[in-house]
Each structure stands twice: as C-alpha cells, then as structure tokens.
C-alpha cells in the first residue's frame, strides 16, 4: 500500500517537473534545463519515452529468463511470470512506439522513418504480437508454456542481428548523438536527476503491475485447477 502511494506521488512529481521546468540556453538556476540544439522543448520526451522503451526491453528479458527457467524446471508458475511480463512489455512497447512516432512527426517530419531504433521497436512489437498469437492458438497449459518459451528464445536470439544490419540500410536519426556525444553527456544535473528518477519510477511501476498481474493469474489458475 505504502509502495503504491509513494510510487504515485513520485510519478506525479516527475510529470509536473518534466513538463514545467523551463529550458534555457544558459542554465543558471537549479531548476533550469539545458538547451539541446535541434531538440528545444521536444527534449522533454526524454523523461517519458526512454523509460518506456527501457521497460519494454526489461520486460522482454524477464520474460525470456522465466521462459528458460520454465523449460528447465517445468514449473507452471514460471510461465505465469513469463507471460505476464510479456503482456506488460507489449503494453509499454505500444506506448513507446506511439510517443516516439508522435515526437518523430514534429522533429523529423513524418510519423515513421525506419530509423534503426524505430525498426528494432517495430520488430519487438511483431515478436510480442506473434508470441500472443501463438499462445492463443495452443490448447493445454504445459504445451502453451513450452512452445511460447521456445519461441521467445528463438526470437530473442535474432534481435541482436539488427544492430549490425540496420546501419547498412538506413542512416540513424536518433538524437542520442545530440544528448551523449563523445562520451560526454550534455544533460545538466537537474535533467539527469529527473531522467534517472523517471527511469527508476517506471521500473517500479512495471514491477508493481507485474506483481498484481502475477498474483491475479495465480489465483485464476488455482480456480481452474479446482474444477469450477
């Protein structure tokens, strides 16, 4: 209960601070955010979009780990965690795609440009979609758990290939160059603190919802096991 309240308050503060702190070319006050050339006010997406993309990846990795655990131990509880995490990951993946796409419209001029990051999140979205299509097409819990875990592993293995392939096809547009250049981060302290606390808050949010989902799914499976 306390965790929920703290998390709610924390996220609200980040939301207010992230949108209201002024961006100036010459930050002097503690609440000033630095001016990033080419991004201006649109730099604020950093506080929300990047944590969403991070949670998407985190959810996929957790789903993968518990999928592997299921394959070795054959304990259906691991499958509950794995599939709940994948469900949440899909939600955050859609959120990250939509926010990123809207931002791209105003910065790069079109909703979709096949930038390497856009492509990788698109592939992640496809994998999540295929994962749930597979799960809904299989009868029997053990069969469903095994096959979807195997599929997640195979899909996860092919994702790193895009790191090598995409730069050969299109040039990157992503502004990580503008924010992190030559190992030097052009965020000031305020910006960094807001960004890192937002990252922590989104991670907390993810684990809180995951916990709820897993508990609900456990109750559901118990109910069905008893036979009505």
């Amino acid at each position: 209960m306390a965790f929920k309240l703290i998390l709610g308050a924390w996220l609200s503060i980040i939301l207010i601070v992230g949108f209201s702190f002024p961006i100036t070319t010459n930050p002097t006050n503690w609440y000033d955010l630095p001016f990033v050339p080419g991004l201006e006010d649109k730099a604020r997406i950093l506080f929300f979009h990047v944590p969403m993309a991070w949670v998407t990846t985190l959810a996929f990795i957790i789903s993968l780990i518990y999928g592997i655990k299921y394959l070795t131990k054959k304990n259906l509880d691991y499958d509950i965690i794995s599939s709940s995490s994948a469900g949440l990951g899909m939600m955050f993946c859609v959120l990250a795609t939509v926010t990123g796409s809207l931002w791209a419209k105003f910065t790069w001029g079109s909703f979709w440009n096949w930038d390497p990051r856009e492509t990788s999140i698109f592939v992640l979205l496809l994998i999540y979609g295929a994962y749930f299509a597979l799960r809904s097409a299989i009868d029997g819990d053990e069969k469903k758990a095994t096959l979807s875990a195997v599929y997640a592993i195979i899909a996860g293995i092919t994702v790193p290939f895009f790191i090598f392939i995409m730069p050969r096809i299109v040039e990157g547009l992503h502004p990580n160059e503008a924010i992190v250049s030559q190992g030097k981060i052009s965020m000031n302290k305020t910006m960094l603190v807001i960004f890192l606390s937002s990252l922590a808050a989104f991670t907390g949010l993810f684990f809180w919802i995951l916990n709820l989902k897993v508990r609900a799914a456990r109750l559901e499976s118990k109910y069905y096991l008893k036979g009505e």
Binding site: L126, I127, A130, D139, T146, Y151, I154, T158, F161, I165
Partner: protein
C-alpha cells in the same frame, strides 16, 4: 556418428518418397511461384521498374512461397498421426536434421526454379556480379530453411497452422530478408565481391546461430 547420419538420411529419404508420391507441397509451391510471378508481370506491364526494386520483389516471392509450403514436413506428420511412430524410431535431433535436410532440398529446388523464371521473364532485372548473386541465393536458402524448419515444428503443435506460420516466421526471418535484399541489390549494381562480404558474414552467422539454437530447443518442441 555414421549410425546417426544413416538415420538422418533415412528420415530424409522417407520424406522425399512420400513427397514424390503425393507431390502435395511440390505442386502447390510451383504453382504458387508461377501465379505470383505472373501477377508481378501483369502489374509491371510496360513500366520500367528499377532493378534495385526488383531485387526486393524476388525475395518477396521466395519468402511467401516458403511460407506456403515448408510447414508441410511437420504438419503432415501431425495430421496423419505418425508422430508417435517417429518418436519410437529415432531421437529428436536426428528427426530435426532429417527434416531440415528435406526442407533444404525442397527450398533449394524451388529457389533455383524461381530465380530461373525470374531472370527469364523479368527483363528489367539483370544481374551484374553473378558471384555475389549465387552466393546470396545459396546462403539465403540455407538460412531460410533453418529458420522456417524450427517454426514449422512449433506451429505443427498449434491449432491454426496455416495463418500462424508467416506471423511467427516474419520477425525471425526479417534480419535474413533485409540482408539478402541488400546483397541482391549489390549484385545488380555490379559491386565488387569484397563489398558484399559484410552481408555474407551476417548471413553466415545468422545460419549458424539459428541452427544451433534450433538444435538445442528442438527436443522441447518435439516432446510436447
């Protein structure tokens, strides 16, 4: 070792004979390639299309014909109820390699047919560097067979087999497809062989990674 290879070859031969007897996959695949190609030729008409674009179209034909036929090997075992017999005869890994070999043979034949037709009829598509083109077709076929075989094994256990196959395969085959399309473009542009080396490295490592991961995971799928 020799014993395992014998068993793998036996499974390959069994699939080959049963395919030659019914010609189920073969006929469907050949007709699929011909219909798709004729649709493309009709839609091109008298327009002049750039060869770079046509190198992508070639792989679209190959991808979808793969999706329409390669799941047969595993799906037919489930449909005819012969899975249990196979379980008794051989260990999972030997079955996997037997099936992979069969899919590879089928896909290689199919791709040779597709490419020959494509070069004959699509006149604006002309290959400059044949060394790159042939290497791409061979490496692409190997990777495509490896990726689609393991997915075929998964969907054979599901309820809606036909529609699920391309849905599950696409994210996994996408790195391969992007790379082969790129390499085919290079062959059309008459690039040097060394320029396409990066593409071949990706294709080769993709093939190795997918075959090894399938090798490790096939047992879990097969025992379900």
């Amino acid at each position: 070792m020799v014993e395992s290879i014998k068993i793998i070859l036996t499974i390959f031969k069994k699939d080959l004979y049963s395919e030659l007897r019914t010609r189920y996959a073969l006929n469907a695949l050949l007709m699929f390639v011909i219909t798709t190609l004729s649709i493309i030729l009709f839609s091109i008409g008298n327009e002049s299309v750039s060869p770079e674009l046509l190198s992508g179209v070639l792989w679209i034909i190959i991808f979808f014909s793969t999706m329409s036929g390669l799941s047969r090997t595993f799906v037919s075992e489930e449909e005819r109820g012969t899975v249990m017999t196979l379980h008794l005869i051989a260990k999972p890994l030997k079955i996997y390699f037997g099936k992979l070999l069969f899919n590879l043979a089928l896909l290689l034949g199919l791709n040779i047919f597709t490419v020959a037709l494509y070069l004959l009829f699509v006149t604006s598509f002309s290959v400059g560097n044949y060394a790159i083109f042939i290497t791409t077709i061979i490496l692409g076929t190997l990777g495509l067979a490896s990726g689609s075989t393991i997915i075929a094994a998964i969907i054979a256990k599901a309820n809606t087999k036909g529609t699920l196959y391309p849905v599950l395969s696409f994210p996994i085959l996408l790195p391969l497809l992007l790379t082969v399309i790129n390499a085919t473009k290079l062959s059309v542009e008459n690039a040097l062989f060394a320029e396409a080396l990066g593409e071949f490295q990706i294709l080769f490592s993709y093939l190795i990674v997918l075959t090894v991961i399938s090798f490790l995971l096939f047992e879990f799928i097969w025992k379900e």
